[in-house]
């Protein structure tokens, strides 16, 4: 009976609602019109907010890329000076042996200085001569030697040769040093500028593409400094990081996601992994310093230590991304495999991991890109050293791209400013490349179900 009563009540309530529903609506009333107007305004506002957000982001990107590009592009070119060099047989190979060992030891620097003195015979004072020699870089003699070693027929001849210029001269040619500034407050005196003008009017000053920048290691001379040493250091460091953090990260993620019982312990592990992702990287650097250098006595400044340290930092990123990717694999696939009699490990290796791979790889590459751009922890383990040689392995002292940027940004020479921007461009290019690779992998392994 009570059922009946409540049913009647329900019916009555339903009638009220339906009566209201059947009251005709005046769609042309001013209230409705106002409502519509408000809705359109809200939509326009929302669109405007979205567009301005994108606009601001694009503007920031444009300013960043523009300022780096405009400062850095000139570093890809280098000023060369053309001089008439006499390959004096008496200087290079007095006995006419033709022995490369003898030729290699010759004083090519002297030849260049002689060529400069010949070009500007009016220069006599010691101080002025020293300034004069600054037109050509100290590294030019190595070029000259190489040239003669390759072609011993040059000995005894006089040839016009393009020689790499010194950094101040390069800056002047690129317009970074202005002749209008008072002589006392610029790097080059009036005499030097006069030499430049003289050479320039002879057509003996040119800018060439600066291959050295991509093939050399670091140097105290800006015109000789290159990015290759740091790039190779970064490569070794990242290889160590990847070799460590990828397998550990994936195994940890698979275990936590597929096998670990859900209890207090795994919850604590989970919370800690998420916390680790937010720990400032300098802390990992201190840990690396203490554990790898002080306790394990691994070589200082070596990519292997840098890689180990960055692996600690990358692990949480990879674990979190991998867990998300594994979680996204539909449970029906696991059930299908288990239902066919696949063991849990077979289920994971045959089905779950292949399906989660695009996500795992994306996460890994993002982690690697993060590691590539990391500076602070590497300062702690000594990768900030000035290293001229290109590292030959993960145990050699090395530096990495972001640290190289930091070192150059810290150098007093004017010419390092453009090098810094150019190095940033190289680093950004690597990052774009890696992220592009991540997108490619995602597309390649993406499967639908």
């Amino acid at each position: 009976m009570t059922d009946m009563a409540s049913l009647m009540e329900d019916r009555a309530a339903a009638k009220v609602i339906s009566d209201n529903l059947h009251k005709p609506v005046d769609w042309d009333s001013p209230k409705i019109a106002r409502n519509i107007k408000k809705r359109y305004a809200a939509e326009r506002r929302f669109k405007f907010y979205g567009l301005s957000a994108i606009g601001i982001a694009l503007l920031a990107l444009f300013v960043l890329a523009g300022s780096i590009g405009s400062k850095g592009y000139s570093a890809f070119f280098q000023t060369y000076v053309q001089l008439e060099v006499t390959f004096d047989a008496a200087e290079i190979d007095p006995d006419g042996t033709g022995d490369p060992a003898v030729i290699g030891k010759a004083n090519f620097d002297g030849l260049i200085k002689q060529a400069l003195r010949d070009r500007f015979p009016e220069v006599t004072s010691r101080q002025a001569k020293r300034d004069l020699y600054g037109i050509v870089s100290g590294g030019a003699s190595y070029d000259l030697r190489e040239r003669v070693m390759e072609n011993p027929g040059l000995i005894g001849q006089t040839r016009k040769v393009w020689l790499i210029s010194g950094d101040d001269f390069d800056m002047l040619n690129k317009g970074y040093i202005s002749a209008d500034v008072d002589e006392g407050s610029r790097r080059l005196n009036d005499e030097e500028i006069a030499w430049y003008d003289s050479l320039k009017s002879d057509g003996a000053v040119e800018k060439h593409f600066h291959t050295r920048f991509f093939t050399n290691g670091d140097s105290r001379e800006p015109e000789l400094a290159g990015i290759w040493g740091a790039a190779v250091g970064s490569l070794y460091t990242l290889m160590v990081t990847l070799a460590l953090s990828f397998p550990i990260g994936v195994f940890a993620a698979v275990y936590l996601e597929e096998f670990a019982p859900k209890n207090r312990f795994t919850t604590i592990v989970e919370v800690n992994i998420n916390n680790l992702a937010a720990v400032p990287s300098i802390v990992f650097g201190l840990l690396g310093l203490e554990v790898y250098l002080n306790v394990m006595h691994l070589p200082r400044s070596a990519p292997v230590v840098g890689g180990l340290t960055l692996a600690l930092m990358t692990l949480p990123t990879i674990i979190i991304a991998s867990r998300a990717a594994i979680k996204a694999v539909p449970p029906s696939i696991r059930q299908a495999a288990l239902g066919l009699g696949a063991s849990p490990v077979q289920t994971v290796t045959h089905h779950v991991l292949p399906l989660a791979m695009p996500g795992i790889l994306t996460g890994t590459i993002i982690g690697m890109a993060q590691a590539l751009g990391e500076t602070a922890p590497l300062l702690m383990i000594g990768m900030v050293a000035f290293i001229v040689d290109i590292p030959g392995g993960a145990l050699d002292p090395a530096t990495v791209l972001p640290v190289q940027i930091y070192l150059w940004a810290d150098s007093p020479e004017r010419a390092f400013v453009e090098k810094t921007s150019a190095a940033i461009m190289v680093l950004l290019a690597f990052l774009v490349l890696m992220n592009g690779f991540a997108v490619y992998l995602r597309k390649k392994f993406e499967r639908k179900w």
Binding site: S332, Q335, A337, L338, L340, G341, Q346, R447
Partner: protein, 267 residues
């Protein structure tokens, strides 16, 4: 009511040599008990239908029969389930091998995102059932044939299984289960995601498979149970209310609740 239920339980026809049995099976998810003292015999080479309203425990019971509930955290199972007289919850039983002997087809078609061939070949491969590529080809073809799918897919065995229609996918899943030569096939609402034509095909297939396999099917459709099964078990609120020949259950149910359910008064 209780008396009627009791009589239904005792009236359960004891089968001479059941393929599988459940004795006093109790199951709880944490504190929620889902099955209460279920006793049921499964007859060899027959289709047994499990019917009942949503949440009555029929799918849970089905998943007990090949230990798929093991994969869920916090499940406790008491009682005994046997296959050919051996307790499948015995510690000495290898779960992997057990699931090869008791295949399963799920509610939603779940082919692996691989080729049609690889889907069917997966089971034989992991269990090492074949020695040569020819043998494997043979098994794949036979399984697809048994699942009535061979004609439709024989020209595109190397194309992805996910490109098939829903009904074809479900028959592929049946072929995949058949490929490991199971003795029992468990089907959990295999037609609930299919259209009527695909459903008819799967039902036809189930009827054919009966000559070689013992089949247990969970279904929401009374008509389906009536069409494909020889025995029907009615579950309600985690208890087995009544089990018997399908004809008897649908024409002359002994329990009031069974009667109410099959005539559509609740559920």
């Amino acid at each position: 009511m209780a008396a009627v239920s009791q009589s239904a339980m005792t009236a359960q026809p004891s089968v001479a040599s059941p393929k599988m049995t459940a004795r006093d099976l109790n199951l709880s998810y944490g504190d929620n008990q889902a099955l209460f003292d279920v006793n049921l015999d499964i007859v060899e080479r027959q289709v047994t239908a499990l019917i009942g309203p949503s949440g009555c425990g029929k799918s849970t019971f089905l998943r007990c029969m090949n230990r798929m509930n093991d994969t869920i955290d916090g499940v406790t199972i008491k009682g005994e389930v046997t296959l050919d007289g051996r307790d499948i919850y015995d510690k000495r039983i290898d779960v992997v091998q057990l699931r090869a002997r008791i295949g399963m087809v799920f509610q939603k078609p779940n082919p692996f995102p691989k080729t049609i061939y690889d889907n069917v070949a997966y089971g034989p491969r992991i269990h090492g059932l074949v020695n040569s590529r020819d043998e494997l080809d043979q098994i794949v073809m036979t399984s697809l044939e048994r699942a009535g799918l061979l004609k439709e897919v024989k020209d595109r065995l190397q194309s992805p299984a996910t490109g098939l229609s829903g009904g074809q996918q479900q028959r592929l899943c049946i072929a995949r289960a058949v490929a490991v030569s199971p003795e029992v096939i468990l089907m959990d609402e295999p037609c609930s995601a299919l259209d009527p034509i695909a459903t008819a095909k799967v039902e036809e297939l189930i009827d054919e498979l009966r000559s070689n396999y013992t089949i247990v099917i969970v279904t929401h459709s009374m008509q389906q149970a009536a069409r494909v099964s020889q025995r029907t078990a009615f579950f309600h609120l985690g208890k087995l209310v009544e089990v018997g020949e399908t004809d008897q259950i649908f024409t002359n149910p002994k329990d009031e609740r069974t009667k109410g359910y099959i005539t559509g008064r609740f559920g």
